[in-house]
């Protein structure tokens, strides 16, 4: 019996490892390709989106999936980082948009979440439902009226046109409420009996317990806003202010070689952040999911 279990466990592990490898493959391929030379990349992948005349061997023309570079080189990175100031500039733009959003939404979100999770007021559940709805709506839904509001506030073409709506996004409220609902009433009630005000309870009792939730939220928000394409396209007209996501969407088509290196650099902060905060992240996500 024991042997059987161990064997099936081993088989399962092998199976899983294969599956995990498949999951990691797109990421790995990007990483590996970023270390190929420009020439090698165009030799392998130039046929993307092209039609080769059957008169010139088009029947057998395929691009060449290459798992290992012939020659390890960092020239693409050099190109991206040193030779084109644009990239670093946009990297900075992305960071200066995303960091305030993440911090702001985590903060504003957990304040509101506390109200939804631990305070009693009329219409609470209905209001929360409204928050939930806007979270589900795709960006396109409020595109035009949003433009009007941004314009009315005189924010057009300023980074606050992206940052402010980001800070007040509903996802933070939703996620943190799910998490805080999980914190036992006994704890907050005990603090109340000790004479603590709501703010003290929030800061001293709830926030420290909600740390994994905050971490998970921060990572998820980071990913989401690091990825945004539509909002900056419409609300930031100056090319100098553009975030990296827009640049990358273009460069992937025009300069594939540099694209891989830029893509790798682009995903690196996300991946590092995730690996660093993984245990918190997992715990945070899990608590948000179990109904409190």
């Amino acid at each position: 019996m024991n042997n059987y279990l161990r064997l099936s466990g081993l088989a399962l592990s092998v199976l899983f490892s294969i599956f995990a490898a498949a999951m990691l493959f797109p990421i790995g391929l990007t990483l590996v390709s970023s270390m190929m030379s420009e020439a090698e990349i165009s030799q392998n992948y130039d046929l993307i989106g092209k039609m080769v005349d059957t008169a010139n061997g088009g029947k057998d023309a395929f691009l060449n999936l290459k798992l290992l570079p012939d020659w390890l080189t960092f020239e693409q990175y050099l190109q991206v980082l040193i030779l084109s100031p644009k990239f670093l500039n946009m990297f900075w733009n992305s960071a200066s948009l995303v960091v305030p959003i993440v911090i702001g939404q985590t903060l504003v979100g957990s304040l509101a979440a506390y109200a939804f999770a631990k305070l009693r007021f009329p219409g609470r559940d209905k209001l929360f439902f409204v928050y939930l709805m806007t979270m589900l709506m795709p960006f396109q839904v409020t595109l035009v009226p949003n433009y009007l509001v941004i314009d009315m506030l005189g924010l057009m073409n300023r980074s606050s046109a992206i940052v402010l709506p980001g800070i007040f996004g509903a996802f933070g409220v939703f996620m943190m409420r799910q998490f805080m609902a999980h914190i036992p009433y006994a704890l907050t009630e005990a603090a109340k009996i000790d004479g603590a005000g709501q703010l003290t309870i929030f800061i001293r009792v709830v926030l420290p317990l909600a740390k994994p939730g905050l971490a998970a939220l921060a990572v998820l928000l980071f990913v989401d806003y690091w990825n945004m394409i539509e909002q900056p396209l419409i609300f930031l007209q100056d090319a100098v202010k553009q975030p990296l996501s827009l640049y990358l969407a273009q460069i992937n088509q025009s300069a594939r070689g540099v694209g891989f290196a830029a893509s790798t650099l682009y995903m690196t902060p996300m991946v590092l952040l995730f690996l660093y905060a993984e245990s918190y992240f997992v715990e945070g996500i899990q608590h948000s999911g179990i109904k409190g």
Binding site: M51, V52, D53, T54, A55, G58, S84, K86, S96, V99, P100, I103, G104, T106, L107, L143, V144, Y147, L148, D151, M156, N157, R158, S159, S160, V163, F202, I203, R204, L207, P208, K211, L214, L233, I234, Q237, D238, A239, V240, K241, Q242, L246, Q250, I251, S254, A255
Partner: protein
């Protein structure tokens, strides 16, 4: 552990304040430099939005915001001259092209700028803001028109006694006329046709009438020219001028001419899956297989767009010593005549607060700018006269072959106005359906997919577009 929350809170507040400050500083800094150069390089959405308040400023001065993607010296000169003549008017020019990055990776940046320009102008127009006057290049003029975002200029022209249509090439002006009115006026136009090697054609003895020929006539003539085995192998090379294009050039061109056969705009139906379209594709492919059309080198004819009088002579000169301009073939049901495109189409924002002033400036632009082939007949004559007096032309050096200065051929030049007067067909090769056609036919021409498969795919996507 206890203080985590507090620390987090204070850090957050500090970062927020910093972010807010830095973003404010950078925007204002940017504005300063732009103003410093005396040219507003801001984007349509933003500055245009402020124009309302400025337009109604207390001292009675009106501001017209005029937006164009490409910077244009003529616009600037006209604006300056107009401002001098009308001290109560200020004209603000804004351009969509960002010059910050023009030197590194120009093309890609331009594409990005165009997308931005379109998106932000669209959003601004929808919000009832935006520039007062627009150069519609890259903008969705049809959509603006459909949603009443552009001023109807037909009634302006009819109601304005100082506007005299006979001063302009009326056939070109009318070409921009839609059923519901006229929503933009061109400052300039171009003629599309072919430059042919007259001597080489004469040597083959093949006769044709280019003033009236249809695509079928052209194919017949083409086969005769190939059979004559004269100076060239191909009759015509795809692409325009020096730019040898892909096979999609003819597809676009021919499908555009036959658009009505495959797209029924009123019932919003496409019939690209009909045998007729597949056979048209096969016919175009046979043009290449029979050698009528080539995709490299030279042929008897070269497609050309005549952008200006100078361009006309340069094109004729560049492709041989004894050349002539020929009219482009047309579809069966179309009227014969030269095919033209309007350029520098200017529209007035229907939500503008200074429409009257904008209309007045637009008239001024039509009368006082000389861009390409000017719409104003007097300016047109002037341009030709200037060229004659100039005597020689130094063409821009492409491939260095023909960049030596050459003499102006007055006899040839005199024919140009005739072609302009005969302009009858507005060439319209843009549009989503044509883009879809052009993008998907390559698979057939390279032999990767059958004509029927390609036709089905085009039908599939075209129906989505038409039914939106």
């Amino acid at each position: 552990m206890k203080n985590t929350g507090l620390i987090l809170l204070s850090v957050a507040l500090i970062v927020l304040t910093l972010a807010a400050c830095s973003s404010n500083r950078s925007t204002s800094g940017n504005g300063d430099t732009a103003e410093g150069t005396g040219m507003v390089s801001g984007q349509p959405g933003t500055t245009g939005a402020n124009s309302d308040e400025e337009a109604m400023s207390s001292n009675g001065k009106k501001t017209i915001v005029f937006s164009s993607f490409w910077p244009n010296e003529q616009y600037e000169q006209a604006a300056k001259a107009y401002e001098e003549a009308h001290p109560d008017i200020t004209i603000k020019l804004q351009y969509g092209l960002s010059d910050e990055y023009s030197d590194d990776g120009g093309g890609e940046q331009t594409d990005a700028d165009i997308e931005k320009f379109t998106t932000s102008t669209n959003a601004a127009m929808l919000a009832g803001k935006g520039p007062d006057l627009l150069d519609l290049r890259y903008l969705a003029a049809d959509d603006y028109e459909r949603h009443h975002l552009l001023e109807d200029l037909q009634s302006r022209m009819d109601g304005d006694k100082t506007f005299n249509k006979t001063n302009y090439f009326a056939n070109v002006l009318d070409g921009g006329n839609s059923e519901t009115g006229q929503f933009s006026l061109p400052l300039s136009f171009s003629l599309s046709g072919m430059v042919g090697d007259k001597a080489a054609i004469a040597a083959t003895g093949v006769k044709f009438d280019d003033r009236a020929w249809t695509w079928d006539d052209f194919m017949t003539t083409g086969r005769e020219l190939v059979a004559a085995k004269g100076k060239y192998d191909a009759v015509i090379v795809s692409g325009e001028g020096y730019q040898v294009g892909g096979k999609d050039y003819f597809v676009r061109s021919i499908v555009a001419d036959n658009y009505g056969r495959f797209v029924d705009e009123t019932s919003r139906k496409a019939s690209f899956d009909s045998p007729a379209f597949a056979s048209l594709l096969k016919q175009i492919k046979s043009m290449y297989d029979d050698g009528v059309a080539g995709s490299a080198g030279r042929g008897y004819f070269i497609n050309a767009s005549i952008l200006s009088p100078e361009d006309y002579l340069t094109s004729l000169h560049a492709f041989g010593d004894e050349t002539a301009f020929y009219v482009k073939p047309h579809a069966d049901e179309e009227a014969a005549g030269t095919s033209f495109e309007t350029r520098a189409d200017i529209g007035i924002n229907a939500n503008s607060k200074v429409k009257d002033a904008a209309w007045d400036f637009l008239k001024y632009l039509m009368d006082h700018t000389s861009i390409g082939l000017p719409i104003n007949k007097e300016r047109f004559q002037d341009a030709i006269q200037v060229l004659k007096e100039q005597g020689t032309i130094t063409p821009p050096s492409i491939d260095s072959q023909y960049s030596k200065p050459f003499k102006v051929d007055s006899a040839q030049l005199d024919q140009l106005e005739g072609f302009a007067d005969a302009a009858a067909r507005k060439r319209n090769e843009s549009g989503k359906v044509l883009d879809i056609v052009a993008a998907n036919t390559d698979a057939f021409f390279t032999g990767q997919k059958s004509a029927e498969d390609v036709a089905r795919l085009i039908q599939n996507k075209a129906m989505t577009v038409l039914n939106e």
